[in-house]
């Protein structure tokens, strides 16, 4: 199919669709005007019924809490699938060298990048905690907080390089966070059933409106989502970044700090200062 035929086909199709598109565009409600009563109903009801001022959290964790449970397990399934697919192809050892792309030099990180990353990673992590903890009062919540926390950890990779990132980000911790967070969300719903209430019913005291610790069971669910999203995102980053290191033969012992070429060790000073026995964690 030549470009000319393709263009003709596209123009024909566009011409046929044009009346329908124009009809819809002309009958759309004005920008910002919506005919959806549910948002207004939640805005009116949630402060009194659930004592929270962030309606998005009220919908996610309470009114539609069961939907979020489904999303939680969707995330769990996606992360598990990614980890199962990617883990093992390059071994699970720590401290392996970062790979080199032919024709592209492995330059040392500039001091400015290292400084900016070291300054901003803790600040970003603190912001993530703030966003996650204040889910019931201000915009944000567990998903956003967890994703920002994972982004803060990525700054470690940017600033310290692959060995520094691997030294800090250990997959068992994040496996536990991902699985434990999902389990916390799924299981906390059963606690209400023991009291004779429906699954995921909000049975905890709701607290004071506009207080950080308002919302009752929503706080527990929010914590579960925070751990699951933060752990899940970081696990996926870890498994993907592991694909960029030097491949290790199955029968080769793990790379130790003293095996690393002096120039590479100079670039990643962190390895020389804190030599790590990589084989022990394999």
């Amino acid at each position: 199919m030549t470009p000319a035929i393709r263009l003709t086909l596209f123009l024909l199709a566009a011409l046929m669709c044009l009346p329908a598109i124009a009809a819809i565009a002309l009958h759309m409600p004005a920008f910002g005007a919506h005919a959806l009563p549910y948002g207004d109903a939640i805005d009116a009801a949630a402060p009194g019924e659930r004592h929270v001022s962030n309606m998005v959290s009220a919908i996610n964790f309470d009114y539609r809490g069961f939907d979020t449970l489904g999303e939680e397990f969707m995330l769990l399934g996606a992360v598990t699938g990614t980890v199962v697919l990617l883990r093992g192809s390059r071994g699970e050892a720590l401290g392996a060298r970062p790979g080199i792309i032919a024709g592209r030099p492995l330059l040392p990180h500039s001091d400015a990048v290292v400084l900016i990353c070291r300054l901003s990673a803790p600040l970003l992590m603190a912001f993530a905690v703030y966003v996650a903890v204040h889910a019931m009062t201000t915009p944000g919540g567990g998903f956003q907080g967890g994703a920002i926390a994972a982004s803060a950890l990525v700054l470690l990779f940017l600033g310290e390089g692959y060995p520094g990132w691997r030294a800090v980000v250990r997959s068992p911790v994040f496996v536990a966070l991902e699985g434990g967070g999902s389990a916390l969300y799924g299981l906390c719903g059963f606690a209400g059933m023991a009291l004779g209430l429906p699954y995921l019913a909000n049975f905890l005291p709701l607290g004071t409106y506009k207080d950080v610790w308002s919302g009752g069971l929503m706080l527990v669910e929010n914590a579960g989502v925070t751990f699951a999203v933060g752990g899940g995102f970081t696990l996926i980053f870890l498994e993907f970044l592991e694909e960029t290191r030097v491949k290790k033969d199955p029968d080769e012992r793990d790379v130790r700090a003293e095996d690393i070429h002096p120039e590479t060790a100079d670039i990643y000073g962190i390895l020389r200062r804190a030599p790590r026995d990589g084989g022990a964690d394999a």
């Binding site: 920008f31 910002g32 962030n54 998005v56 790979g99 080199i100 792309i101 032919a102 024709g103 592209r104 966003v131 915009p139 944000g140 919540g141 998903f143 956003q144 994703a147 920002i148 994972a150 982004s151 990525v154 995102f233 996926i236 980053f237 993907f240 970044l241 694909e243 960029t244 030097v246 491949k247």
Partner: protein, 86 residues
């Protein structure tokens, strides 16, 4: 519709068009990140900060990072095929 929203809508349209017309994969990844940040600004202007946070973290950080990693991994020491270009 205020002027800010009009400008941001145009910015999103321009960034999205940029993604389509970028042909090099590595540049396209950066174009996707720019588009993500433009979308986040638009969501913020439309008073949806929850979505804006998620868009910055997912569209501005996670997706570009994963794509860049895959591109780097593909160029790395995969078993070299005879006659390959690089």
């Amino acid at each position: 519709m205020s002027l800010v929203i009009a400008i941001l809508l145009l910015l999103v349209a321009a960034a999205g068009t940029g993604v389509v017309f970028t042909r090099t994969p590595r540049r396209q990844v950066l174009a996707i990140a720019v588009n993500g940040f433009a979308l986040a600004l638009l969501f913020m202007a439309l008073q949806a900060p929850d979505v804006a946070f998620a868009e910055i973290a997912a569209g501005g950080v996670a997706v570009p990072l994963l794509f860049l990693t895959v591109l780097a991994s593909m160029k790395m020491d995969r078993s070299p095929r005879p006659g390959s270009e690089e």
